[in-house]
Symmetry: C2
DNA sequence: CGGGTCAGTCCAGAAACTGGACCGACTGGA
DNA sequence: TCCAGTCGGTCCAGTTTCTGGACTGACCCG
């Protein structure tokens, strides 16, 4: 996760990706929609491109003009954005969401995280934290106490 | 989502919450595990407390000692952390995860986001973005350039 | 008595962010 | 033809934030 936050851990990267998902692809649009200063936006777009989350393609030759699109890896951030949006609406003052996601089933999309293996909902306390091959925590022990 | 990122949008807030989920509750542990400078950690913990994601409780009187615990709102960030962890392992060099989540069903926990209404997996393109009551995007939805 | 633990604070230098001005190559309208 | 506007940036100076090491004060353990 630390690696992910190295790329996404700031106030603008996820909003940029979100606007790309919404269908905006141009620099000026992204600047206006996210509120990011243009200098900062330039840097973030470069970093996201380098990380493989977006592509930068030239759509006009002589006045050089570019547009940004999600890669497969970038589109894969959809679950992160959905769950973050859901949390914001539930636990911050952000009750009147500016946008609503409507699933193809017709209902407003409220994401639920399930276990890929057994398909059951995942709740705090229903899993255990174990050390992986990369070497784990100093004294991870119990994981779920409270 | 912007409100959520106002609180969580930096390199340390989510790691702090993650370590709390893993069962670490003391200032020094959090500093060591996240790598956050102590001054910064102090600020983040105050902000998360103010946002209602964690509580700070005194467990020793005379040498004042405190420990931090997740509130219900904080625990509700589990889906965000799970999906972010999953993305990091899939799309960054973070293949050898230091920790593995094992679901109570016995399998390694790979989160899948489903629609709360129809229970189907959510994939890019299987939903529509619409303006909500809060007033929406200038010209959202279609994705075609104007 | 000495060392360690714990939850911080303080400080100075480095890095990042901010917002406004500016740019060059066009395009559209009168 | 002239003028305003668009687009994707860059440049700059001032402000804020981050960083990491040193320090503190009350306790606990041997």
């Amino acid at each position: 996760m630390s690696d992910a936050l190295e790329i996404l851990g700031d106030r603008y990267s996820l909003p940029i990706l979100r606007e790309l998902m919404y269908g905006f692809h141009r620099f000026t649009d992204l600047a206006a929609l996210t509120g990011a200063p243009r200098t900062l936006l330039t840097g973030r777009l470069r970093r996201l491109e380098e990380a493989g989350a977006i592509t930068r393609t030239q759509y006009s030759q002589h006045p050089p003009r570019f547009e940004y699109h999600l890669t497969a890896a970038g589109a894969d951030l959809l679950p992160v954005i959905l769950t973050l949006k859901e949390w914001g609406e539930r636990h911050t003052g952000d009750h009147e969401a500016k946008t609503v996601f409507v699933h193809r089933c017709g209902a407003a999309l409220h994401p639920v995280v399930t276990c890929g293996a057994c398909r059951e909902d995942v709740r705090p306390g229903e899993f255990v934290v174990e050390d992986g091959p990369g070497g784990g925590h100093p004294s991870a022990t119990d994981g779920t106490d409270h």
